[in-house]
Symmetry: C2
Subunit: 221 residues, 2 copies
DNA sequence: TTTGCTGTGTGATGTTTGTCACAGACTTCA
DNA sequence: TGAAGTCTGTGACAAACATCACACAGCAAA
């Protein structure tokens, strides 16, 4: 059973659940429990079978593909209020995961069992709409990612990544390389170039964007 | 109004429509009309607004992204019995197209207006299920495409492409390059290599696969 | 047959990216 | 303070791919 506090937070992040009849929502939340998952945990992996539908309350997770040579590429990131579309995909298509989900910042989440998920999908327009929105959003993301990987140079992609994050970025060059599917040395070199242009200031595990406009302009070339 | 012949073909390709009440299906098909679209037509383009939901009866179309430098990359291909998921995405998310759809082999299709699409989605499990299946399938495709572009070498991707098509492949090197997001010369060179390995025999606008197993093995490395 | 178009073969060259090797800087913890 | 671990900088080199330039072959229309 979930506390009223948790219930309120769920409704805040997932407003479409508020459109369910109260009794239904109560029943639903009765079956669920909040899970706390530490950073670094592998939530799911390729070829695994999917168990249920997660509602993320805090933290976030990275969904990645990794190559046989040990490199990796981030497909997308799941934030609170979102849900892992890959999970929906597995549940709906009754297939297995095709990627790996790793907890980045420690996660609090509620897990809806697959049966509940299917039931809600059939019964509630609001929930169905939410899931469709998730799908369309991710599909768009993936299409942009494909074109970025296929057509853009690494420096542009890096600039776009830096421009998208909030400015004092605390991360390592290796983490950025993993996000972009590249190698650490490349990121170091390119960042040095950016800092020589005066676009960023570099420190250990820190990148301060000093010319956001220039970065964006460069990324959009 | 559609002929009985067309009606039969629609039901054959889209069996989930058979689960609608007959009256409903009649009403639906009354509003629709078969369109014939010649090869090469741009069915939709980036930033365009989406009008309705296509049911493909014959032919096929390529959905592509093109780069500012004039190169292009095929995201996926829509075959009869399928529908353009991008269209669904636009309809559901009320967004615009993010890619270009070009008729490859001349297309016969029936177009469901957006209102009908939404209505059916809310009312019929079978239709909803169909659309979800489309989404999950495409999402999987896109994820595979991303990883292929990011991690696989061009020769492997080419081998996979050749292995996936039925053997006397009638196409130009340029068309293959466009499908893989590469340059014509690269394809010519790699194909020459394959032919020296005895995996294919080359002719003008023709590639005959002579060692499918070897191609597949190479693609899976 | 000639002309022209399209498709293909091929070398030379440059850019981009990845890989390897190693040095130095900073942090943490004993 | 020292030692170990992590993060970053950097040069040298190789691989993959794109681009340019041009030759030539096959096909079709005039």
């Amino acid at each position: 059973m979930l506390s009223d506090d948790i219930r309120a937070r769920i409704l805040l992040l997932y407003p479409m659940l508020g459109e369910l009849p109260t009794a239904e929502l109560d029943g639903l939340l009765k079956q669920a429990s909040v899970m706390h998952i530490p950073s670094g945990t592998v939530l799911f992996d390729e070829r695994q079978i999917c168990q249920g539908f997660p509602l993320l309350l805090s933290g976030n997770l990275r969904v990645i593909k990794s190559s046989s040579q040990g490199r990796e590429l981030q497909l997308y990131r799941v934030m609170p209020g979102e849900s892992c579309i890959l999970t929906s995909s597995c549940l709906l298509g009754d297939t297995r995961y095709q990627a790996r989900g790793i907890v980045d910042e420690a996660v609090e989440m509620v897990f809806l069992p697959a049966s509940v998920f299917h039931n809600m999908l059939a019964k509630y327009d609001a929930f169905r709409h939410y899931v469709f929105q998730l799908f369309t959003g991710r599909l768009t993301d993936m299409m942009e990612l494909v074109t970025a990987v296929a057509f853009q140079k690494l420096d542009q992609r890096l600039a776009a990544l830096l421009a998208a994050k909030t400015s004092p970025i605390h991360t390592t060059h290796q983490a950025i390389a993993d996000e972009l599917g590249s190698a650490r040395e490349m990121i170091s070199r390119l960042l040095k170039g950016f800092s020589e242009q005066g676009w960023v200031t570099l420190g250990r595990e820190q990148i301060v964007v000093t010319n956001l406009a220039a970065l964006k302009k460069f990324a959009a070339l």
